[in-house]
Point group: C2
Chain length 331, copies 2
């Protein structure tokens, strides 16, 4: 079994300052490996990169339609948003519709990544709520599914029907029995899989329009919701949003904590998954951008591409000090 390989370099002047290793897999329509870097079978936690998988039961169960969820809400159910008003206002309306309140969440309070939203809270000498948690859209989906299933309030627990439904969907689309789970930042269980398994799941989403089963139909709606509302999946200045916009809605991508990134490419019927071994987001962003360029779905000259694939390193005075770049094997 091979180990991780160098994927992204950090240069200061003409000296290599830091290096990021990892694993990446591109899967074809049947989940077969088309191209791989590092160890395709390395076990990883997908973290938030698998939110569109976790949202499958929300649609499959009939809960989404029973509660009249719109496309924006489906996008939020797959989101790691940054707590801007465009996110929290919509989640609040969703909560209100369910007749629930912030205290029904189990994701925990998190400071918004969105600077204006964060500053509002600071200026009010207040504290963030659970609705500001980057996962509050996913948890609104969990709450909706739970209402539909009539489950207990502790929907975040491993043995709860909401999470067991997520596990079943996860193992189905990854094509693997998960070797274990961890507790995620938002308190939900996160199931481990191989990088190959995660890429296989993305190719399930990428080919879902070819099939008519309930899970595949749900997959089409979720991936299309992500590309219809790229600003809801992450937010302004974020890689997921900027790169999905740069691809004009043709490709859905999603980041996960500890440097996971996935892509769903319907026009190529391909799925992509990668993990930077050390967990650095700057490297997972550069690597996914490089792979999307390599696959011909992202324009190398688009400003959003350059900003993520070969970002400049500037200091506090704005002086150019160096740059980040993918290794030749990714180009």
């Amino acid at each position: 079994m091979s180990g991780p390989v160098d994927l992204v370099e950090v240069w200061r002047g003409d000296i290599l300052e830091s290096v990021h290793q990892g694993h990446a897999v591109v899967c074809g329509p049947d989940g077969e490996v088309i191209e791989a870097w590092g160890d395709a079978e390395a076990v990883i936690f997908p973290r938030s990169s698998c939110k569109m998988i976790q949202a499958l039961p929300l649609i499959e169960s009939g809960a989404a339609d029973a509660h009249g969820l719109g496309v924006a809400q489906l996008a939020l159910s797959c989101a790691s948003h940054q707590g801007a008003h465009i996110h929290t206002d919509r989640v609040q309306v969703w909560l209100d519709t369910l007749g629930l309140s912030d205290s029904d969440f189990r994701c925990g309070p998190q400071w918004p990544g969105d600077i204006p939203a964060r500053n509002e809270i600071i200026r009010a000498h207040a504290a963030p709520y659970q609705i500001h948690n980057n996962c509050s859209g996913k948890h609104a989906g969990f709450l909706t599914l739970n209402r539909h299933l009539g489950g207990a309030a502790d929907y975040e627990l491993l043995d709860h029907p909401v999470q067991q439904a997520g596990k079943a969907a996860f193992e189905d689309v990854t094509g693997e029995t998960s070797p274990g789970y961890g507790i995620d930042g938002c308190s939900a269980p996160n199931f481990a899989t191989s990088v190959h398994g995660l890429a296989r799941a993305m190719s399930f989403f990428a080919t879902a329009h070819d099939r008519s089963d309930a899970r595949s139909k749900a997959a089409v709606r979720l991936r299309d919701a992500m590309t219809a509302f790229p600003e809801l999946v992450a937010g302004e200045t974020r890689a997921c949003t900027d790169l999905m916009r740069a691809m004009d809605g043709r490709v859905a991508i999603k980041t996960g904590a500890e440097a996971v990134f996935v892509a769903i490419i319907p026009e190529k019927r391909m799925g992509v998954a990668l993990k930077i071994t050390d967990g650095s987001t700057r490297a997972s962003e550069a690597a996914i951008a490089a792979i999307l360029v390599k696959l011909g779905v992202l324009d190398a000259d688009h400003p959003a591409t350059k900003a993520r694939m070969v970002p400049e390193i500037r200091n506090w005075r704005g002086t150019l000090c160096g740059h980040i770049k993918p290794v030749a094997a990714l180009l």
Copy 2:
């Protein structure tokens, strides 16, 4: 030549989620390698870990004494502070004494890492000044040396006498001709060296009390200033401050951007330097704590040690999700 080796692991539940590789060297009194992990001769940028070296000319030149600098100011000249009032108030007095103002700095404005200081600026709808830059103490030292030398205002440029004096001191104490330089976050040149060279420089500081030359005398004053004012070298909640306090002033340590860490251990007449290849601070902190415990100068059971060497990973609700730990080879 060997490559980097695994130094720090990140576990979520019972699954290894991320891994950090790097190089580390412990040097004895003559700069000889006592113990090493990875490649001792790997070339790195020390970044802020070498501020005590950059401050040597400030004392050696006579500038520090001519301007009556106290021990706290010497500590600030070696600091990556977080822009709290205890830092910026002292640097402001220093600037006033020189008859200079914020615009004479060349380090650039940076938001304070200190949360109360940051929030003050946000609530005032204001912006940070250059004095908030983590390097403003070092730059106050540069300005003082420059006043003494009568140099031009652009003291941050490579060919300026202030930086050339720093380069000469750097090459002397590392025992190496620097293979090149990069522009640092604060706009000053940062000279590359091997991990061994940086550890050798730290052993120069650790043994400086044995010698009576001007450079060694300056080294004693700087390392003693760091341990006398650990809160000025970094700040509350920071690893440098917490671990120096835990060692009761017996050991000086300093972090640098992109995951460099150094230690000066006078009682052992040893110097330590390490670089995490991927640039992750969580790993450089865990690794330096482990090495200090291994060398017998840091108590493994001290709360500050545990918080840096084997930190818990807790989520937004405070649930324990995993932990970070050094590999067995560091224990």
